[in-house]
Subunit: 217 residues, 2 copies
Amino acid sequence: MSEAPGEAPSTGRGRRPVRPSGDDRELAILATAERLLAERSLGAISVDDLARGAGISRPTFYFYFASKDAVLLSLLDRVVAEADGTMHEVFGTPATSAREGWERAIAAYYEVFRAHRALTVAWAEARSTNDEVRALWSSVFERWVTQCAVAIEAERARGAAPDGLPARDLAVALTSMNERVLYATFSGDGPSVAEADVVEVLLGVWLSAIYGTLGDV
Amino acid sequence: MSEAPGEAPSTGRGRRPVRPSGDDRELAILATAERLLAERSLGAISVDDLARGAGISRPTFYFYFASKDAVLLSLLDRVVAEADGTMHEVFGTPATSAREGWERAIAAYYEVFRAHRALTVAWAEARSTNDEVRALWSSVFERWVTQCAVAIEAERARGAAPDGLPARDLAVALTSMNERVLYATFSGDGPSVAEADVVEVLLGVWLSAIYGTLGDV
DNA sequence: GCGTAACTCGACACCCTGTTGACTCGTTCG
DNA sequence: CGAACGAGTCAACAGGGTGTCGAGTTACGC
């Protein structure tokens, strides 16, 4: 809510002391957060835990971050940058076959989740309590959906895929499926698909939905 | 966590004074919870809000329910009963066509969400913070998945659907998609499918995934 | 009219968040 | 050198939430 006195252009999110060495402290907080998130949920981690983990007092924590959520956001910024990079790479390089292209996209999505399990689980959790987190998620999701919708339309244009549902609606549904299935798989809550099979299962549904033609249903 | 002194067999969950009139109070609390959930999230509702809404003091609230979450669970028990009833009805009556059968199943799932928007949104939110809520969700989800898997296998057995992914994995993926897409649609957070189109979109993906055969992808 | 069980709530103990104001300490510059 | 400044630090506070305890107050059967 309150704005930092000395602005730093780089991260935008959270407060950032401009000067030199206290930088280590900020990194220590981030590292502590990542470590603790691997063992318990964000809700079960207090600001005091983060401060102690970084070797500072609680008030000092507030010198570096405006809140617990700001720490998460800072961590997420990295993941988002990575995810965007991966996405552009996937949609940028031409595929040898349609199947291979979609498989690469899904595997990439899978990989982003997998490489940061704890963080993405915390992300999903915080999404329901924090507007900024929700907005960040929405923007990432939106970019994926848009890319997929464009790709679907391209396939239809070249005659490889039949017309059917609006491409964007299809992209939203399929991307939503990926998100939820991967979340369930990695968080281990409730019925889920085995980790080894998950890309194959998702790919199967994607291909059917995009290319499949129905007979006499 | 402490158990109620006078047990009542009916709901199992939460404490329940057996005797006469304080029953109204319990209903008042439930009604207040439902009303408040329509305007803000569970996290933004305090026990005090519920107590005041029901015309009692905060300590008295604890005479009726063990916690805020217990109220939610009590509310959810109703929805679960309804959802299960709907599910059995859907899978119990024979469909005139395969398409019509699946459409009815998806429409039923949609209807359960829609009739209790606020509650199901709160459900999803609390799932990440409360074990009992999570478990309840998992059990409902599991029942849907099982029913769908059975139905898919039946379609394959009668030769109407081609073999492909394991029926259960497919059911998990598709049911997950429904859950996430409906949640996004009703909570209004992030990119989503228009409410009017959502059943059609989901149905399209289900039919493709279950019956669709791929050409030369 | 009396015991007992349902019911009620003021007051408390505790945990968490976020803020304030005073203090240290290194650097910079007159 | 030493005043001034700004980064960095934290004890102490204010405030809001949860859950509990024990001392009431009814209401009803006997």
